[in-house]
């Protein structure tokens, strides 16, 4: 009975008999639904990273804070720092962008960081020297494998550490923190000189001995104490937010929102979850730190 009734519906009313072109246009229009909301944007927040990186929750939260003041923010994750740099210099659109000193191995920042365009530092990611044994000295006379970030600067620092501790340490580059974690958990590597060291230590997978940092982190030596004060021995990957084509008043408003946001419990919680170091210091001190990290 259900079958004959179904046929009756199809044949009597023929409501589903659509022209192919009409169907295509209707479907395409359906896919265009989100467009109108993007046309009302005041500021475009550009990230050179893909969506899904460690900066994602920070960008989303900061954008939400700005939007509470009535400014519409459109977040765009480009996954391409060269394109981001080009875009930020191309048009008269009002932009905010996040950048990291680490990106310089692939592309330069879109502009020189100054008091005029810097909103503030987002967070700092020092490199942590950590291992499976309780002290670094235990590695002085045994072969070991050390995992580190890719990039000439970190490889050079890793080699200097190796030369100071034990020439039998082999250095291996890992693309991201997930790969490093898997490597330390499975015993593929013994030592880590990586930005994810703090998170690994928190998970009780390693013991951290030292870090690259502008200031000493509690319980850790400075890397420069181990290898001496060589170039980049205090380099940490520094993330910051800056503005392009914003008026002085707009910058002041956004700086105020940033200041409130970075002092909030939510921001502290995000920093803790991401195992990052919170920003500190005045704007001038932050500019100085950013320039140092770009050397």
């Amino acid at each position: 009975m259900a079958g004959s009734y179904g046929n009756y519906i199809f044949e009597r009313y023929d409501v589903y008999k659509l022209n192919s072109l009409a169907t295509t246009l209707v479907a395409a229009a359906f896919a265009l639904i989100p467009l109108p909301s993007w046309s009302q944007t005041d500021i475009v927040f550009v990230s050179p990273f893909k969506a899904g990186g460690s900066t994602l929750p920070f960008i989303k939260d900061f954008a939400a804070q700005i939007e509470q003041t009535g400014i519409a923010v459109d977040q765009r994750f480009l996954g391409n720092c060269r394109l981001a740099s080009q875009i930020l210099n191309r048009t008269k659109t009002k932009y905010l962008y996040v950048w990291a000193s680490d990106l310089q191995q692939e592309c330069l920042p879109p502009q020189s960081v100054t008091a005029k365009n810097l909103v503030g530092m987002l967070f700092v990611t020092p490199m942590y020297m950590c291992g499976r044994l309780s002290t670094l000295d235990q590695y002085r006379d045994r072969p070991a494998i050390m995992g580190t970030n890719p990039g000439a600067v970190y490889t050079a620092l890793s080699e200097q550490i190796r030369d100071k501790i034990n020439s039998n340490i082999k250095i291996v580059n890992y693309a991201n923190s997930g790969a490093i974690k898997a490597a330390i958990v499975t015993g593929e590597i013994d030592l880590v000189f990586h930005s994810s060291g703090k998170a690994l230590s928190r998970d009780n997978l390693v013991t951290c001995y030292a870090a690259t940092a502008a200031e000493q982190i509690k319980g850790l030596d400075l890397i420069s104490d181990i290898i001496g004060h060589v170039p980049h021995s205090q380099i940490s990957n520094t993330f910051w937010i800056a503005g392009v084509n914003l008026t002085a008043q707009e910058m002041a408003n956004i700086r105020e929102i940033y200041s409130r946001w970075t002092k909030s419990k939510e921001f502290a919680s995000m920093i803790n979850t991401a195992a990052r170091e919170a920003p500190s210091g005045t704007i001038d001190q932050q500019i100085s730190q950013i320039h140092k990290s770009l050397q």
Binding site: A2, F10, S20, T24, L32, A51, Q86, K170, A182, T186
Partner: protein
């Protein structure tokens, strides 16, 4: 629920695979949480397997390649008057197989410590090499075609700046090429567009005959071939672990095993063979997730789309908890039952509708896919780049539509990780 409903639709529509629909639903899936995406994917695949076999049994429509055994057994089952018994048996067998597979998978994911060692670079490299090697023998293509597709996939996957090696490959200084070839134009050009082209041009309208169906007899659990369910579950679970081929071949493998065993015993039980095959199908849907949840390695094309979505949301495989697994288990089990309840009374209407309007459906899905991807490209300031890639890959996809592009897609996705893990192994041992 949405995954189940869409899966039923996909299972019935001939030649429209899961990948095509996942591409069309990409923007929607990005709005879900990672757990919701995984649940959607599992329920979608389970219900598409079931509806595909139901449409194959009832109407001789091959909605899913894994329904091939159902098509083969159809004639025997109709002759014996066992159509509804086989549908009922398939539903129960699929439910039990899903639960069995989930129980087999749980200790592997959460309680067996040695599985951690499967995350080592050597293992990852080995799995990726196996994926490439098994792609060489992709059954729908000749060997030399597979090798050509793999070569193209590896080259496309390597184009761009590699942050680990610090090297650029075939970027010619172009700012767009430096970030590599994006996944979506490759999938749309080599998968979605050729599928749509074939549906619109190469296939005759699906002839659907609303033949009178026999009246439904009362079904009983005691008539289920439980031994076939058990065998199918285990064979399917193991087959699903084989990269690339396992999931698609699971039902075939189980069907062949059961056929051989029956021949040895001198039995001819078509329903048992079918139930064995369909149980294997659903079991494989679960086990195929293991490399994804353990290593973050997707081993079939539709899984790769899902992983791309999960990655964009900041998900990583070490965040998948036991509680998440319980939720996925519940959803998967419910999905089969819901698919059975929905398919039985409505399958004839759905098949009739799709038969009549499959052209319009195809245009609609393709339009949604293309517009969604172009909007994404516009927001990434890469509209022209995406358009050029879409036109190029769509042209190539249509030109080589008679070849299955899966080896190309798999090697494209494996390329960068293969290089990086190979490099790690070199640094570790040499």
């Amino acid at each position: 629920m949405l995954g189940t409903l869409i899966g039923i639709f996909v299972g019935i529509m001939p030649s429209i695979g899961g990948s095509f629909i996942l591409l069309a639903g990409f923007p929607f899936l990005l709005s879900l949480t990672p757990l919701q995406v995984i649940i959607f994917y599992v329920t979608f695949r389970i219900s598409s397997q079931f509806s595909g076999s139901v449409s194959a049994l009832l109407f001789g429509m091959l909605g899913e390649i894994t329904s091939y055994p159902a098509l083969k057994e159809r004639a025997s089952i109709i002759r014996q008057g066992d159509i509804y018994a086989s549908i009922f048996g398939t539903a129960i067998g699929s439910t039990v197989a899903t639960v069995l597979a989930l129980l087999l998978t749980y200790p592997l994911l959460f309680h067996i410590d040695w599985t951690l060692y499967l995350l080592r670079s050597e293992m990852v490299f080995f799995v990726l090499v196996m994926i490439i090697l098994t792609s060489c023998f992709w059954p729908d293509n000749a060997l030399h075609h597979n090798l050509g597709l793999i070569a193209v996939g590896l080259i496309l996957g390597t184009i761009g700046f590699n942050p680990v090696t610090g090297q650029e490959f075939l970027t010619f200084g172009d700012v767009y090429l430096s970030s590599g070839i994006p996944l979506l134009p490759v999938l749309i050009g080599f998968v979605a567009v050729p599928v749509a082209y074939k549906l619109l041009h190469d296939c005759a309208l699906i002839s659907f005959d609303m033949a009178r169906l026999p009246s439904r007899p009362q079904q009983s659990l005691s008539n289920i071939a439980w031994h076939a369910v058990a065998k199918g579950s285990i064979v399917g679970w193991i087959a699903g672990l084989i990269p690339v081929l396992g999931s698609a071949m699971s039902s075939n493998m189980a069907w062949r095993v059961e056929t051989w065993l029956q021949r040895k015993k001198g039995i001819d039980d078509a329903v048992a063979r079918l139930v064995c095959a369909e149980s294997a199908n659903n079991s494989a849907v679960i086990s195929v997730l293991i490399p994804l949840l353990l290593f973050g390695i997707a081993i079939i094309p539709s899984e790769m789309i899902v992983y791309h979505i999960l990655e964009a949301q900041g998900w990583s495989h070490d965040r998948f908890s036991a509680l998440d697994y319980v939720l996925v288990t519940s959803a998967a089990t419910l999905s089969v039952m819901v698919a059975y309840l929905l398919c039985s009374p409505w399958i004839s209407h759905m098949c009739g509708f799709f038969s009549r309007y499959h052209q319009e459906m195809t245009y609609a899905v393709l339009a949604i896919t293309l517009v969604s991807v172009l909007i994404m490209a516009y927001r990434e300031y890469s509209l022209v780049y995406y358009v050029v890639l879409l036109v190029l890959f769509s042209f190539l996809g249509i030109l080589f539509r008679d070849k299955d592009s899966t080896p190309l897609i798999l090697s494209f996705l494996a390329a960068e990780q293969l290089i990086n893990s190979g490099r790690i192994i070199w640094q570790l041992y040499f």
